[in-house]
Amino acid sequence: MIEKISLKAVSTITYALIIFLMLMTTIILGGLPWIIKSIVTIDIGSGYQPIIASPGLYRYFLFFLYTAGVLAFLILNDLRRLFKSCLLEQIFVKENVNLLLRMAILTFLITLLFLTKVFVVNSLMTMAVSFVFFMASVFCLVLTLLFDRAVQYKLENDLTI
């Protein structure tokens, strides 16, 4: 069944999806202050109020979401480059090993960022997202090591005449 799935077709669809997500991230980051003011509410003792009612929390959320957004954008960009190499059929190359390592570091930074939120405004969702990004970071690290080994095998195979 795996032979029927075209790598090029899957890579093209994923590449297009990543471009769309990068575009949406840029738009959301651009309008973040207004989005936070209109959507985010917080309970400060007298019922749910817009986040702007607490300037300190508003600034924290702005910093938190901007940082998470930029890190997410960088991860998406690395993913885009990874899938672009799949489209060019240059999968097992040293550059992809470096990209995966970078993604592992970036996802770990998002984990740390969400952990700070646990101490500021905690929720079950925050802890769940921290855990998910931590697992993603570990997964990327494992992929980095696998790809590194694959690159070594490919190089040996390429230089076997």
Partner: protein
């Protein structure tokens, strides 16, 4: 610790074979034969070695020589 040296250029000169002709006879690309000739290869398939010996009318020992590394 020594290394295996491939004396392909010596045998090619003796048999007056060009890179292009030898690559065509052996069934590998010019680039791959060039890698072999310049001692950049990591490994050689027995099938390739057989075809090289057949084409250059020689023994594997004429092509592959073990040399000790000079310290």
């Amino acid at each position: 610790m020594g290394k295996i040296v491939i004396n392909l250029d010596v045998m090619m000169a003796r048999r007056k074979k060009s890179l292009k002709d030898l690559a065509a006879e052996v069934g590998i690309t010019n680039a791959n034969l060039s890698i072999l000739k310049n001692n950049k290869a990591k490994a050689v398939r027995l099938q390739t070695l057989e075809k090289l010996c057949e084409s250059l009318q020689c023994q594997p020992g004429d092509l592959l020589v073990y040399e000790e590394e000079q310290e």
